[in-house]
């Protein structure tokens, strides 16, 4: 049995650590690239969204490398995501790969379901071993996200553009290679320190833009054409509330106990959207209402034909809390220069608004 997983941002690093610690046979398919996308687009149903296409591309590439047990998230009451695995399995079979897709339920049972799935895959390794491996994976996730948060702050105000991005790329590699808690801690300390030493323009007051929208396109830079880095280049500080580590922490440990980090967002969205509509639609509306005061603008990312985000996009203009929103729909047709032009125009608009506010 050889395990394969699809990509989402840097999620492969903690997964790799987890599998290594459990001594499992696994492959990590190449990180998302043009070939992944082409494969995914070629074998996907026409109207599918970009997360489906990219993950399908990953699964095909994993199957090419000999993976026969593929992990995919699934569940009920989310969006199309719950149906992905059914279709992807049929595509793989029709391509002649005899791979089985193992569904990891993300909507029910959460932590227990995940741990049980890991136990099954690891040929009944002891619980102690599973939990220790799982913890180590989580530690890597936390390190990566803490460094990324620091990078988001440095990016818009660094003197030499691109320094923070370079450091982040190195940090990702170093985190991947760290194989015990001690070296992991060293990596974290080391890179946070290096980031704090980056020469910066202290007088700058960068525009603050929140990135909201659908989970996958938010966390997978390949699908949104590095929108965060591009905004950084334009001197904009990016704030994002969804991080993989936060999400894991809440959805696996705290949500079952009744603590929900999204309650604030839901409450804020209440006057405009009263109920959960699947995906991240509710949170997107809430984010706009909640942050209208403290952000300069929002970039709303959504896959083309994403149902929850379309509802959110329809509702957002009607909120009393007013803040400019730029919706970028991501799919294989999204072009870099087109997106850049829109981002530049958006940033110009935000600058004008800020100047007008200061004058008043």
């Amino acid at each position: 049995m050889r395990i394969g997983v699809p990509h989402m941002g840097n999620l492969y690093i903690p997964l790799k650590a987890l599998f290594q610690r459990l001594n499992l046979d696994f492959v990590i398919p190449p990180v998302n690239n043009q070939r992944t996308l082409s494969l995914g687009v070629r074998y996907s149903p026409e109207g599918m969204c970009i997360p489906f296409k990219l993950t399908l591309g990953n699964l095909i590439e994993a199957a090419e490398l000999g993976a026969d047990t593929l992990l995919m998230p699934a569940g009920s009451g989310i969006c199309r995501l719950g149906y992905y695995a059914k279709t992807q399995e049929q595509v793989l079979h029709s391509l002649g790969y005899n791979a089985e897709i193992v569904c990891i339920g993300v909507s029910q049972r959460k932590l227990l379901g995940l741990l049980e799935a890991i136990k099954r895959l690891s040929n009944n390794a002891s619980w102690a071993k599973i939990i220790s491996a799982f913890r180590f994976g989580l530690a890597k996730l936390n390190v990566l996200d803490s460094i990324e948060r620091a990078v988001q702050k440095v990016r818009p105000i660094e003197r030499v553009k691109g320094t923070a991005n370079q450091l982040f790329a190195q940090a990702v590699r170093a985190t991947e290679q760290a194989d015990d808690y001690q070296s992991l801690k060293r990596v974290q300390k080391d890179y946070l320190e290096q980031l704090s030493l980056v020469e910066r323009d202290e007088s700058a007051e960068p525009l603050v833009v929140g990135i909201v929208g659908e989970f996958y396109v938010l966390l997978e830079p390949f699908s949104n054409l590095d929108v965060e880095k591009e905004l950084g280049k334009l001197g904009v500080e990016v704030r994002r509330s969804i991080f993989t580590s936060e999400w894991t922490k809440f959805s696996l440990f705290l949500n079952p106990l009744g603590v929900n980090e999204k309650d604030r967002l839901h409450k804020a969205a209440m006057p405009y959207l009263k109920r959960d509509i699947g995906g991240e639609g509710w949170e997107t509306v809430g984010e706009k209402v909640l942050h209208a005061k403290d952000y300069d603008g929002l970039v709303h990312l959504a896959p083309f034909t994403c149902m929850p985000e379309i509802v959110a996009q329809n509702i957002m203009p009607s909120t009393k809390e007013n803040i400019p929103v730029l919706t970028i729909l991501c799919d294989e047709q999204l072009g870099k220069s087109g997106m850049l032009t829109r981002l530049e125009a958006f940033v110009d608009l935000l600058k004008h608004r800020r100047r007008a506010k200061v004058k008043v």
Binding site: P45, R80, Y83, R275, G278, T305, M307, N314
Partner: protein, 328 residues
């Protein structure tokens, strides 16, 4: 008398007799928006963002047609009618979305239908809906029961008599409709009712097939067991609320000996992009019944639909002729 408006779109085709009975039982007058026209579609599309799917655009057009014609508009948020099976986001957010894009809309009567929260919650939702029109809980109960019976009667009409929803609605309001001849060669139309029975969106597909001499079969004519067996065969456990209409009926009709199956999809429909694909894969695997999928959106031209339909029917004819020759 209080007037309750019901837009002639989306869930109308599935539940109209039920809703009508309920509101009339509470002493309200029910106003239905007129059938879709090009103008309905145009005003509807002007309100929502471009990526919104065709049926929702049509829905907004119908709500606009009801503005100033009624005191309330009834828009339920139908989350789930079977355990652990949920509906598309656009249905869940429908009342909120309508309120956002059509601010001049009369007060919206919304109700959350979610079977997963338990019977108690469902009954409470029905009562709170009824309370808008009547103070008397017993009257609400009576109206709800009558509505449920009306719904059963409506479903039976379609299953036993082979009527399409518009025909059944006409039958209930006592206009005589000709009963279809069961011996005629049949073509199955699969897809959501709001696409199959909206004559403007689908460019009179049913009518065209009937003119070509075929009997038209639709998902509503199948029993729940038939639909469930077909779904189990194709995908296992259903995932979407209206999976029966597509995967269930598609799976059934592909093996029922009809001349052909036509799948009708709206462009950008999330659930259908996956469900119709399932049916298509099954059709390719079986290789017994011709299958065509028709994608509709506001730019779909009538001539395009007609051409594809003619080609499809020609192909069926040719196939039949060839088979006949082999037999001789």
């Amino acid at each position: 008398m209080v007037k309750v408006g019901i837009p002639r779109a989306l869930l109308y085709y599935q539940y109209y007799p039920m809703w009508k009975t309920f509101f009339e039982g509470l002493g309200a007058e029910v106003v239905v928006s007129p059938p879709t026209t090009q103008a309905t579609l145009a005003v509807g599309s002007s309100r929502v963002v471009a990526d919104t799917c065709l049926p929702v655009k049509v829905f907004c057009g119908h709500v606009l047609a009801l503005v100033e014609k009624c005191d309330y508009v009834f828009i339920p948020a139908l989350r789930s009618v079977k355990s652990k099976i949920y509906n598309c986001s656009k249905f869940l957010g429908l009342p909120d979305m309508t309120r956002a894009v059509i601010p001049e809309c009369p007060p919206i009567l919304d109700i959350d239908i979610d079977i997963n929260k338990g019977k108690r919650k469902l009954y409470q939702a029905i009562y709170s809906l009824g309370r808008n029109l009547s103070w008397n809980p017993l009257q609400v109960r009576k109206a709800a029961l009558a509505a449920w019976h009306a719904h059963q009667e409506y479903k039976e009409l379609m299953i036993n008599k082979g009527l399409t929803p518009p025909q059944a609605i006409a039958r209930i309001s006592e206009a005589a409709t000709p009963s279809p001849n069961p011996k005629q060669a049949a073509i199955a139309l699969i897809g959501h009712p709001y696409l199959l029975y909206d004559e403007l969106i689908n460019h009179r597909l049913t009518h065209r097939l009937e003119q070509a001499g075929y009997r038209v079969l639709t998902p509503e004519m199948l029993t729940d067991e038939q639909l469930e067996t077909a779904i189990t065969r194709l995908t296992g456990k259903p995932y979407w609320t209206y999976e029966e209409e597509v995967v269930g009926s598609g799976g059934h009709y592909l093996e029922s000996g009809v001349e052909g199956v036509i799948g009708v999809v709206a462009f950008g429909c999330g659930p259908d992009s996956l469900m119709m694909d399932m049916v298509q894969r099954q059709a390719i695997r079986l290789r017994t019944t011709p299958f065509m999928s028709l994608t509709l959106e506001e730019h779909t031209a009538e001539a395009g639909v007609v051409t594809r339909l003619e080609a499809f029917l020609d192909m069926i004819q040719r196939r039949k002729r060839r088979e006949a020759k082999v037999c001789v």
